[in-house]
Symmetry: C2
Subunit: 306 residues, 2 copies
């Protein structure tokens, strides 16, 4: 509930936003124009041990995930990484070694992305580790791509494979920065988002922000091997995992069908692209089953527990 509140406060700016603020580009990111006309993109994301990763996970892996999540948000806007700030609350029982591994992990992850760590703050806490990462970026060659531009008739595409990230990928993914930049260099992308909350939930974000509906063909959703493995453990179908698991951090985007078909053949920056559906009129997100029947695609993404 408080989360909805914070977002609604931020959204309220839409009505009376300063001229330099270009909103509507996702919950956690904004494009800010400076007085002289240049702009930058900024996103802030929090990672809490026990909520977004296990508390006993290796510090370097926690650091890498925190940095990658924040820069996945700006990647989904097809922005170029600029720099990173990190604040950290370290548990009182962490020894120096553990703290040093975390700092090295943060430093390395930021450098690898091309967004150097330029500042931050470290505090102690009686609770679990908390990291907050601020990702700064500059608009890419096509400017900033938002969730709001999908058009009726567009193809809906996704990079990579979805589902089952809990088995490991949620800690080890790379934000799709080169892929997003390559996409906008070769195609006219109308709307884009990263799949963080789950395909079903993030499709709804695009539908809502663009004022359109989306129809997804279940048979065309790219299901990861991890989703299949998880399915054997819990009895939910691999497709359900691919639709709802979240933390895939793949790119979900809409563009004209001919461009989508080319991408489906060629991929982008070495990564496969799947056409999973199309943009339709109305505000519904719909799943087209194998047997030809439709059902509502309910948003039911979830956060990984510890």
């Amino acid at each position: 509930m408080p989360e909805r509140d914070l977002i609604s406060y931020v959204r309220a700016l839409g009505a009376e936003a300063p001229h330099w603020l270009r909103l509507g580009i996702g919950d956690d990111a904004a494009e800010v124009a400076l007085p002289g006309g240049e702009s930058f993109v900024v996103s802030a994301d929090m990672l809490v041990a026990g909520v977004h990763c296990r508390s006993d996970e290796a510090p370097q892996r926690i650091a890498a995930k925190a940095v990658a999540r924040a820069h996945s948000d700006t990647a989904a806007m097809a922005a170029r990484p600029l720099c990173t700030l990190v604040t950290a609350a370290l548990p009182g029982d962490w020894d120096d070694d553990r703290g040093r591994q975390l700092c090295q992990g943060l430093w390395s992850a930021c450098s690898a992305i091309g967004a150097p760590l330029i500042g931050g703050d470290v505090s102690s806490t009686d609770g679990p580790l908390v990291l907050s990462v601020t990702a700064l970026a500059t608009p890419g060659p096509a400017g900033v791509i938002t969730r709001a531009g999908a058009r009726v008739g567009d193809a809906v595409c996704v990079t990579g494979k979805l589902g089952g990230s809990l088995l490991g990928r949620h800690l080890t993914f790379s934000p799709r920065i080169p892929e997003a930049l390559a996409l906008v260099e070769s195609c006219n992308v109308h709307a884009m988002i990263d799949v963080s909350d789950g395909l079903s939930t993030d499709l709804l974000h695009i539908a809502e922000e663009s004022g359109v509906g989306v129809e997804i063909r279940g048979v065309d959703v790219p299901v990861s091997a991890a989703a299949a493995a998880l399915s054997q453990q819990d009895g939910r179908s691999p497709l359900e995992h691919a639709l709802h698991d979240g933390e895939d951090y793949e790119l979900l985007f809409c563009l004209a069908p001919p461009e989508a078909e080319r991408l489906a053949e060629e991929g982008v920056a070495g990564v496969e692209v799947s056409i999973i559906g199309r943009v339709i009129e109305g505000g519904d997100t719909v799943l087209l089953r194998d047997d030809g029947t439709h059902c509502p695609l309910r948003a039911s993404g979830w956060e990984h527990g510890a």
Copy 2:
């Protein structure tokens, strides 16, 4: 120890910093230049309940402090507030009302400073409340003032009165934004910092970054009524509180003596200015006692416990 590590990693950038990064402007803030030549200032600061405030403090007051601390960092660089992002980890036992009060407090504090809340993230935690605030600003009329420009012969000045902020002011202060902007409009300020860690510690930051020494006259340090009140409780002298308490969030700056004398007479933006000492050769920070003797002024600022 980990804090030193993070800062040392950031400082290591000094050797091979990208051309767009202008460092040396404080632990937690940086000026970043965009490709076209415009720049912005960014600072990130973390507040942990139980460390920086009492856990049972009113949410609005916690929110106000968190926002004010981050923007005090950019104010000390004489930058103009631009916008704010906040990430929050809310304790599981907080009810909706408490969360809503926090969000409203964040929103109000950002608006009051003229740096609207434009984004963020909310999570839950098993531990205490954690807030991370990213303050964004644009360089003021004199560009960015760092800690590194103090010159031998400069007067050392401070706004307001120091010490005893634990009695309340650490929660209710306003960052010295109008004062800093007025300062650089009327004077040539060589170096500046906000007094967050304690006068003794922050003087050392200026001395180290500028490669100079500082001599402070104890009798000229402006002591707050709260420092006197606290002195009666704990037996430490009011001057000791003024020198070491921290969290005053006043401006500490160095400039030519004639300008300092004018400020001491006229104040700045309605706030009193005191000349407390002078910049000397060497790297020492020295306290000149009432009886004419000198002693080393050791950095012993401290953080408020809960």
